[in-house]
């Protein structure tokens, strides 16, 4: 029997937040994201031997690769059983905006209501614009801008060449800017 595995815990568990954030942005549902991450960790644990080969390499790209595969299989089966699980993409997008609203309120005491509203609106617009991007663009944007991963790690996680990561990222930013300019009627930085 393999010994209790402190090595797995030491090098894979620290990436739990990144794993959850990616799953959450891909499947757009907090409960499904938990299930996906749990399943991904179990797979990672079972195939940990295949990762171990590479000395003290960062486990994050490897783990996130498993998380995205698991997310995509979930999305596929959710699409198939749409009515059964009551999966509603629009409803999920709305739900992802709740934390944004909460943030706006927290900062409330220092700001006047109008600034608050603008800040809250921009946050909501941004989150919902990203949620509406196609998944392949959404994931590259989250990994780069939110998780701040280097290009080569993103390439490793997504199993695509670095050049493709860059071009996808550039397109994702372009799509996002265009979406924001349409909804806000101005460049997003002018908030």
């Amino acid at each position: 029997m393999s010994p209790a595995n402190p090595r797995f815990e030491a090098i894979v568990m620290p990436h739990l937040d990144a794993a959850y954030n990616l799953a959450r942005w891909l499947v757009k549902d907090p409960h499904a994201a938990e299930d996906v991450v749990q399943e991904a960790y179990l797979r990672a644990f079972r195939y940990f031997d295949s990762f171990r080969g590479a000395a003290d390499e960062d486990a994050r790209p490897w783990l996130l690769g498993i998380v995205r595969n698991t997310s995509y299989s979930w999305l596929q089966s959710a699409r198939r059983s749409n009515e059964q699980v009551g999966y509603d993409e629009d409803a999920q997008v709305d739900e992802s905006l709740e934390p944004a609203a909460a943030m706006g309120l927290e900062r409330g005491h220092a700001e006047n209501p109008e600034t608050q509203l603008v800040r809250k609106a921009l946050r909501m617009q941004l989150n919902s614009a990203i949620a509406s991007l196609p998944a392949t663009f959404r994931e590259v944007l989250i990994l780069r801008e939110i998780e701040e991963m280097p290009y080569d790690s993103i390439a490793a996680a997504m199993q695509i060449p670095i050049g493709t990561v860059m071009s996808r990222l550039s397109r994702a930013r372009g799509m996002l800017r265009a979406a924001l300019e349409t909804t806000l009627g101005r460049r997003p930085y002018e908030a």
Binding site: M1, S2, P3, A4, N5, F8, E9, M13, L16, D17, A19, Y20, N21, R24, W25, P30, A33, E34, D35, V36, V37, Q38, E39, Y41, L42, F45, R46, D49, S50, T70, S73, W74, S77, R80, S81, N82, E83, Q84, S96, P99, A100, R123, L126, N127, I130, L141, I142, E145, I146, E148, Y151, G163, M166, S167, L169, S170, R173, R177, P188, Y189
Partner: protein
């Protein structure tokens, strides 16, 4: 190609876009599940060994592994009589059909007090219904199926991303222990308990399926 750098836009995104933190309960659930994974199930010397083989598959030479696995399968999964085989086939087919036809659940509820009465008036017996969410098997609902020349109650459980169907109907057979079976990648456990026959079907490991069977057997008075 050169990366399209726009530090101002990046700063805006980093500041405004939600970065979801994993809930504490998720960390606990994962650690508990991994703990289970590394220690063999109490009743399952063989399932522990199968799990060990799964973990160390690559480490063993393919030929040796296949040999051992084949031996295990033969000893672990009893050869079926043709009547049992036919029943196993019907149940597996029903499970696959439900998954493919999106007919997973007729009554959606995690509350046994909703699921149990739902069957009343639809079938001539009342299945025992219980939720095992804390043990990792969440009751998600129930449905009716046609198996073994009769309408039967099917309880639907969820384990992580997997669907488990538990078919149950009255039987005149005497109580039995939990038998494990496998058919084309679909695993089954089957047992008789206090006049009811049970068939649990899923693509999760047969050891995990046996855990659900043990849970159901130990809570029969509910």
């Amino acid at each position: 190609m050169q990366p399209d750098n726009d530090p101002e836009f990046s700063r805006l995104l980093k500041e405004k876009v939600d970065q979801h933190k994993a809930p504490d309960q998720l960390r606990r659930k994962i650690l508990a599940r991994l703990e289970q994974e590394r220690s063999p199930a109490p009743a399952g010397g063989v399932s522990g060994l199968l799990r060990y083989l799964d973990l160390h598959w690559r480490a063993l030479s393919t030929a040796a592994a296949c040999g051992v696995a084949a031996t295990l399968l033969v000893t672990q999964l009893p050869s079926l009589s043709s009547a049992d085989d036919n029943l196993a086939m019907q149940v597996t087919a029903s499970h696959n059909r439900a998954l493919m036809a999106n007919h997973l659940i007729d009554v959606v509820s995690s509350d046994r007090h909703t699921v149990k009465p739902w069957f009343a008036g639809k079938i001539d017996y009342s299945p025992r219904v219980r939720d095992f969410a804390t043990e990792g098997f969440e009751l998600t609902g129930g449905r009716l199926d046609y198996v073994n020349d009769r309408v039967v109650a099917t309880l639907v459980y969820k384990n992580r991303l997997h669907v488990i169907d538990v078919y149950t109907w009255p039987s005149t057979e005497s109580d039995s222990t939990v038998n494990k079976r496998s058919r084309r990648g679909i695993n089954m456990t089957e047992w008789v308990d206090s006049g009811m026959k049970y068939y649990a079907v899923s693509d999760i490991e047969v050891g995990e399926l046996a855990q659900l069977a043990q849970l159901m057997r130990s809570h029969k008075n509910d």
